[in-house]
């Protein structure tokens, strides 16, 4: 069972703010899903390597050359807020 306190902690990690109803609902639903998922713990994986990607591949490298053009204006076009050709966000500090 995942408690509501744990749910609140996970939400904090995920940068989500949940309503009380959502906390209640997720606590129940995630507990159900977790019960189901826990069956993998029974599999014997002694000496087994994890598979991160389905195909074996190592790092793909290329020459360190600039290939992209300066497309600052295009990139800024979709910005919710901008100033002086830069993305603009609220301050880091809490407003008084």
């Amino acid at each position: 069972m995942i408690s509501r306190e744990e749910i609140a902690h996970i939400a904090e990690l995920a940068s989500l703010k949940l309503t009380e109803e959502e906390k209640e609902e997720f606590s129940e639903q995630l507990s159900d899903v977790l019960n189901y998922i826990n069956k993998i713990l029974e599999v014997d994986t002694e000496g087994v390597e994890p598979t991160y990607y389905p195909l074996p591949s190592s790092n793909i490298l290329r020459e360190d050359e600039v290939t992209n053009q300066d497309r600052r204006q295009e990139m800024l076009e979709q910005a919710p807020d901008k100033e002086d050709d830069q993305f603009k966000v609220p301050g880091i500090e809490q407003k008084e």
Partner: protein, 478 residues
């Protein structure tokens, strides 16, 4: 035969022999879309005039062919909302490799199709925008998450569409809508410009009316891509290469334990009937043992949500998308995400964050990755003994719209499709018939890694013997 009723192969042949012009093809599909779109609602965005999008200069294989793309693939025109309100009206400053390949060969992007938000869901009801309806029965869902792409093909709005498949999101809607849905081997098609859900599982593939059409489309969209470091460094064959070759002598594996699970009786019978047809065609069908499907599903829901929680961290209201105000930057992130993500996306971010959180990362996430290895190796062993696996796809035909289901029940519908995402193998959903209610039924064929050519050969052989219609009539007044 009307133009919109023709298959992709038929259209290309008729165009090459000068019986129809590219402009006529585009106009015909435009008219069909205008006739049925109000009822089916496949598209989130589409050009006003398809014929005007066609460039004479691009005289390739797809000249004049309209292709619908799922709304999570970046295109230089049209919006790429991913079915989410956090990307409402979002226009990407770049184009996906698949879109480049389609337009580069003369194809026209016919629109961006509806989907479950960020490809998370099995009904397309988790779209922030609209409900897409199943062309065979408008009271039913088209499946998901590539539901708009599947519905558009079944309705004759396009001869070909692209979807993305993380745990079955091409194959399950293809099954629900009675069309061919093909997830190639991980790495065969570039993911550049595909909004990431779970990067080690996501793969783009075609939804078409025939197996041949899927192979033709794969020839266009596949390839090594320096912009996607996970694109497979292989020599790509002609994927249509063996379509005409007989399947006599091929060996098929039937996972009998899968058929004893909780699946619809009509689907079980359809799989057994398909096995019989294969035997009649001179192929060998033998029983095989696959790793328990529920283990693959459990591992999948840890890996997929863990990767999703990380991938979706980018939606923070800074560079693009919608923003909610906040007193400081952290509040702005939290408000934006909390307001704009739908419940299914939040649920999966929460589960993935949990699986990656301190104390659980090794116990759950690492364990799931090891189980993934175990599953993959078992599949590889099976493929050392047989050529192709024949089995069920979705455990049930299309649900009714608005059906109330527990998240776990919905996740269960992915049980037969997720194992190949875990392993990276190619798999195809093939229309196999209709239920008593008139809803499409399908079977799934699975091949070994990079075994596309033989998988398509097997599917084509079975398709000829099943002979199932793949275009919904959508007569007026229904």
């Amino acid at each position: 035969m009307k133009i919109y009723e023709m298959t992709l192969a038929g259209l290309i042949e008729a165009r090459d022999s000068k019986r129809i012009k590219p402009g006529e093809i585009l106009a015909a599909f435009q008219t069909r879309t205008e006739e049925v779109e109000e009822r089916v609602r496949s598209f989130l965005d589409r050009p006003r005039d398809l014929a005007a999008e066609y460039e004479d200069s691009k005289n390739g294989k797809f000249a004049g062919i309209p292709v619908a793309l799922k709304a999570n693939m970046a295109t230089s025109k049209l919006t790429t909302s991913c079915g989410s309100s956090i990307l409402e009206d979002y226009r990407t400053p770049y184009q996906s490799t698949v879109a480049d390949k389609i337009t580069g060969s003369g194809g026209v992007i016919a629109g961006k199709t509806n989907m479950d938000e960020f490809a998370m869901g099995s009904t397309t009801e988790h779209s922030a925008y609209q409900v897409t309806r199943n062309p065979w029965n408008l009271d039913h869902v088209p499946g998901g998450s590539s539901g708009g792409s599947a519905a558009a093909v079944a309705a004759g709005e396009v001869p070909c569409a692209l979807g993305s498949d993380t745990g079955g999101s091409i194959r399950q809607p293809a099954a629900f809508c009675g069309v061919v849905g093909f997830k190639p081997t991980y790495g065969v098609v570039s993911r550049y410009g595909l909004a990431a859900f779970a990067s080690s599982l996501d793969q783009i593939g075609p939804l078409t009316r025939t197996v041949e059409d899927a192979a033709i489309t794969l020839n266009i969209i596949s390839g090594v891509d320096p912009l996607d470091s996970t694109s497979a460094r292989i020599d790509h064959p002609d994927y249509t290469g063996k379509l005409d070759q007989d399947i006599a002598g091929m060996s098929f594996g039937l996972p009998s334990s899968y058929l004893e699970m909780d699946i619809d009786e009509e689907i079980r019978n359809q799989v057994l009937e398909a096995a019989e047809k294969l035997r009649e065609a001179g192929a060998e069908v033998r029983e095989i043992e696959l790793p328990p499907a529920d283990l693959a599903l459990a591992a999948y829901y840890i890996i997929a949500t863990a990767e999703a929680s990380s991938n979706l961290a980018r939606y923070d209201g800074v560079q693009y998308g919608t923003r909610q105000s906040g007193d400081n930057v952290r509040d702005m992130f939290v408000n934006t995400r909390s307001f704009s993500f739908g419940p299914e996306v939040k649920r999966r971010i929460m589960l993935g964050t949990f699986a990656l959180s301190s104390g659980y990362q090794d116990e759950l996430y690492k364990k799931a990755l090891k189980v993934r290895t175990v599953i993959k190796e078992k599949y590889e062993k099976v493929f050392s003994e047989i050529d192709i696996i024949l089995g069920p796809n979705s455990p049930a035909p299309a649900f009714k719209i608005g059906e109330d289901m527990d998240p776990l029940d919905v996740y269960y519908t992915d049980i037969f499709t997720v194992p190949v995402n875990i392993s990276g193998f190619p798999a195809l959903s093939l229309p196999a018939g209709f239920s008593e209610q008139g809803l499409p039924l399908s079977v799934q064929l699975i091949g070994p890694a990079f075994g596309e050519v033989e998988l398509l050969q097997a599917a084509s052989g079975l398709e000829k013997r099943l002979d199932v219609p793949t275009l919904a009539a959508l007569e007026k007044g229904r």
